[in-house]
């Protein structure tokens, strides 16, 4: 058998089960809608810059900078995500790794790994109080295999109810990756960049007399500068997943 024949056989086998007119868009659209609704419920950080305006005006979910994986806020957060609600964070490992670039410090505080997921808990803090969000998180093992990123939870702000406060310019994040490695101990490199959050300014149209009908004009928002990558190497022992199959 030549390579071309083998290739042809693969195509024939696949074609017989997957017809050319198969359309998954209707199902995907349903999932997309359901996912968006779910994310709106569990997402604690606004997805858009405008969202941050409302976010800043409202009191938000918060946590202490000293809280890490064992923090009750994180337990409650994970309980809201069906992918993560079975995770036992008491099995997480504490780390104390930090790196500063251009007055922005990223500190990796804890990591958790089971046979399904890897969670990395870290903070981003800017010395000048500006807000930076994570951008382009990656996790690779020593064989240079990239563990697929799933999502990132983030928290910032203050809460009187919880009596905890994060300083201005600091956010704490939990990045979630799929564990596709079979290794009992992961030797990994975590990389993340920090992107400056630029809030839009609101102006009334200058040549118009201000009335209730005067349109408010949102000034174009420049893209925030990106700093990094911040790079961290560490090991983590993989615990058994308690996620029901």
């Amino acid at each position: 058998m030549k390579k071309q024949e083998f290739r042809q056989l693969l195509h024939e086998v696949a074609m017989q089960t997957v017809p050319s007119n198969r359309d998954i868009w209707p199902m995907l659209q349903e999932r997309l809608t359901a996912d968006l609704h779910r994310r709106q419920r569990v997402r604690l950080l606004p997805a858009t810059r405008l969202g941050w305006v409302g976010f800043a005006l409202a009191t938000v979910f918060v946590f202490s900078i000293t809280a890490y994986a064992g923090g009750s806020w994180l337990h409650r957060l994970l309980e809201r995500d069906e992918r993560l609600q079975h995770i036992d964070l008491s099995l997480s490992q504490r780390l104390a790794l930090s790196q500063t670039i251009e007055n922005v410090t990223v500190a990796v505080e804890w990591v958790y790994a089971d046979t399904d997921r890897v969670l990395v808990g870290y903070t981003i803090r800017a010395a000048d109080g500006k807000r930076f969000d994570p951008y382009g998180e990656t996790l690779r093992d020593k064989a240079d295999i990239t563990l697929p990123w799933q999502s990132t939870y983030g928290m910032t702000g203050q809460s009187d109810a919880l009596q905890v406060t994060l300083p201005a310019g600091e956010g704490a994040y939990t990045a979630i990756f799929d564990n596709i490695s079979a290794s009992p101990v992961l030797d990994v490199r975590f990389e993340v960049r920090a992107q400056e959050l630029v809030l839009p300014s609101i102006h009334a149209a200058p040549t118009m007399e201000t009335t209730e009908e005067t349109p408010l004009v949102l000034a174009p928002v420049p893209a925030g500068r990106i700093i990094g990558p911040f790079t961290f190497d560490f090991n983590v022992t993989v615990v058994s997943s308690s996620q029901p199959r």
Binding site: M1, T17, V18, D23, I24, W25, R140, D144, P148, I180
Partner: protein, 189 residues
């Protein structure tokens, strides 16, 4: 809609861009995923997950590069992981039954679609299908990337996050095993 326009729309959060990309890539993605996970329903889940992930991460996609390799990298990674998880939990007896069922489907489809297909050809398809199932998910994914998606070894290595030497060895051992399992019909493969 042109691909660049679909991507630009998607980057702005307009899912009509995603719809266009789905229509373009879904069939090939489903087939590649099916060859790796070996179950049609799972393959659909894999490809849906891949499109959702592409949607989530489209802002990380460099528009100067082609979309297909970036997207198929996502498909293959999810398919590989799904295949690993599936094979961890499938009892051998069930696996045999499933493979026989899949073979029956293949043979039935052959007979319906083309009565001229020879017994030898169907046997060969069956043999290839069964032999692929005996490879590890990582080997199978590498074979599918190399021979079904027609990627170069270098591209397969880059897209699977594997060193080129490791990938070459993985392909070599997979080919050797296929040669053994497929016997003479695979002599020059």
């Amino acid at each position: 809609m042109q691909e660049f326009e679909a991507i630009a729309r998607l980057k702005q959060g307009d899912i009509s861009g995603l719809e266009s990309l789905v229509k373009t890539y879904q069939v090939n993605a489903l087939r590649a995923a099916y060859l790796i996970v070996r179950d049609y329903d799972l393959a659909e889940d894999v490809v849906q997950d891949a499109f959702l992930r592409a949607y989530e991460r489209i802002n990380q996609f460099d528009v100067k590069r082609p979309f297909a390799p970036w997207f198929f990298r996502i498909v293959i990674n999810i398919a590989k992981r799904t295949a690993v998880q599936r094979e961890r939990h499938i009892h051998l007896d069930n696996a045999s039954t499933n493979e026989e069922a899949a073979l029956d489907e293949i043979l039935a489809a052959d007979l319906q679609s083309d009565p001229q297909v020879t017994v030898e050809q169907r046997d060969l398809q069956h043999a290839v299908w069964v032999a692929l199932g005996r490879l590890s998910p990582a080997q199978r994914a590498a074979i599918i990337q190399r021979y079904y998606l027609d990627m170069t070894e270098k591209d397969v290595a880059v897209h699977s996050g594997t060193a080129l030497g490791t990938l070459k060895w993985r392909l070599h051992t997979a080919r050797e095993q296929l040669r053994v399992w497929l016997g003479n019909s695979c002599a020059s493969f």
